[in-house]
Subunit: 351 residues, 2 copies
Amino acid sequence: MAEPGHHEPVGGSAPTLQDVAQAAGVSRQTVSNVLHAPERVRAATRERVVEYISRLGYQPNRQAQALARSASHMIGCRIRPLTPGALTSMHDRFLHALAEAGRAADHHLLLFAAEDESTEIDSVGRLHRGGAADAFVLYDLTADDQRPKALLDMGVPFVAFGRTDTGADTYPWVDVDNVLGTRLAVDHLVNRGHRRIAFLGWPSGRTIGDRRAHGWHQAVESHHLASTCGVLDVRSEDSVQAAIQVTFRLLEHAEPPTAIVTATDTLAVGAMQAAQRWGLEVGRDLAVVGFDDTPTAAALELSSIRQPIEQVGRQVVAALLGTDEAGPGRRLLEPQLVIRSSSARPATPRR
Amino acid sequence: MAEPGHHEPVGGSAPTLQDVAQAAGVSRQTVSNVLHAPERVRAATRERVVEYISRLGYQPNRQAQALARSASHMIGCRIRPLTPGALTSMHDRFLHALAEAGRAADHHLLLFAAEDESTEIDSVGRLHRGGAADAFVLYDLTADDQRPKALLDMGVPFVAFGRTDTGADTYPWVDVDNVLGTRLAVDHLVNRGHRRIAFLGWPSGRTIGDRRAHGWHQAVESHHLASTCGVLDVRSEDSVQAAIQVTFRLLEHAEPPTAIVTATDTLAVGAMQAAQRWGLEVGRDLAVVGFDDTPTAAALELSSIRQPIEQVGRQVVAALLGTDEAGPGRRLLEPQLVIRSSSARPATPRR
DNA sequence: CGGTAAAATTTGAGCGCGCAAATCGCGAGG
DNA sequence: CCTCGCGATTTGCGCGCTCAAATTTTACCG
């Protein structure tokens, strides 16, 4: 402005649509059209404008865009404090997946902290009314999660990663097929020759835990192992210490399992620890398969069920933006088994 | 609007300043004043306005505010894909700490994905010029990180968590005293009676790794253990497998260490694994102390140095917002030793 | 009871942009 | 040579808010 002739991308404050327009000798709206509806602009003009856009390093002001079209292009997402004791840090991967998926659609992630569900609901309401985010992502849903209904009532657009036990048909979600997950684990172990395959899970009541338990049940039955495995279903809270104790109970059984499928990597670590103290070598005397494929699993050579988080992220964003080609936005994605040495070898007969 | 008399917080589209003003029978600006400069408004008026604000569930529009005062109240932060092999990248805790700290100052976090440093720099430039974020947070700085200089050149406000080897006096940062960290670990082990304390670190070149190695050196010397420990300094890449191999080399030494201090939990896990395979019991025959206090450390009962991430988050935000009471915004925070059974017992003489 | 300063409140302008309607320019048709 | 039509481009307006300046009200004193 004060220095005609110069046009460095950096220097003063950010150039506006008007600045570019002036420089290119056209009107504001033409520049806007070049950006959003190029076909409306004559080729010659377009090229000239494009030239000045890049020369000035013009970048549309998000806030102004948001205000004008009353859509912030932001996706809100709570970040929760990590639960002490739990291994799973899905957060990382999930948030990254969301950010990545959003980027493709020119959306960014708005992160906010909240103590608990009810503060989260408040924050979401506030952020939404304040126009800070257009839509929200919910995750780590519990069986009777209050959030979906609350957001539905507030009229806030959202998509959940996971789903509640009831009412899941009233809102859009994306989930990983947990039942399939444990089934994959059991199938794999059966393939390796195991016949006594235990399940170490959460106490029932948690949706995810129940589904994972269910998958084990299904698989055991479909392989006609109910008679040998039926009793090998134990539960503990999601901590290493608790899992160790419970695993001991499994091992002192008259007919101990040769393999254990667990509902989380945390539990699997407990199982591995217990086995070692019991004098068993994991991978040789006892196979273990975890769930979630946390970094810890990789570090300890623990086989684990991996959730396709990146895919979840993409689907969630697609559902959020309505880019969703197919269906009602309720998708069940397939997890994958990652085989490591904790379960790679064929079963060796015991006792 | 279509239904005078009703005033539910939900329902139509979000109420504006004007709506509240009209309802309360005052002007736009008075409502604004009630919110931002209450002392300017007569008590009676203020109360009436406040009443209507809450009755209508009014929430200022962030985008409009941002536009008007040309400040988005957003803090930009890249989320990087998690590096495979590494146990945890602190992302979780750090992002949560930032979000939490920002909340107190009415700032939110804007997350964006970027492949590498140079794309990150581009994104930051774009976001900044686009007014999407006022300031940015950099983390995981490498010794010769290009980002600080790049942002400095672009005139983008930022604060780093960590610092480069050179030029760290040209930009604001917050860092954890890594030297102190390993020193704490060594001191603790000396207290437990250890005299041969090895260090298992990264190959030098990485700033953080070097500082952690340095702390071990310092402590070893200050305890006059240089003669016994001098050779017990080994390095490997940050993976469990590599650490196992290197630990074996330590253990086959003529005078093997009774304790190992590592530069990361990942390496510590390797050390623990190696010890077990060597027939040693961690915590009894060999003490191990990790670094970062990842969830894995807790799960495996591994002592570890814990970084005060929450505090870092608060300091970073304070520096970013200029809420910084003291000094030039370059702060070194103290890590803390978390003692678990991998190093709790007194040393037992070996061989 | 007028006059004045201070307090309380309102008005005007504009942040940068997108939408819709208005205007311009130009070649074809009469 | 004037008119019509259509693509290209421009103007007007408002999104919801903040800042600064203008205006009104209130309180106080002689």
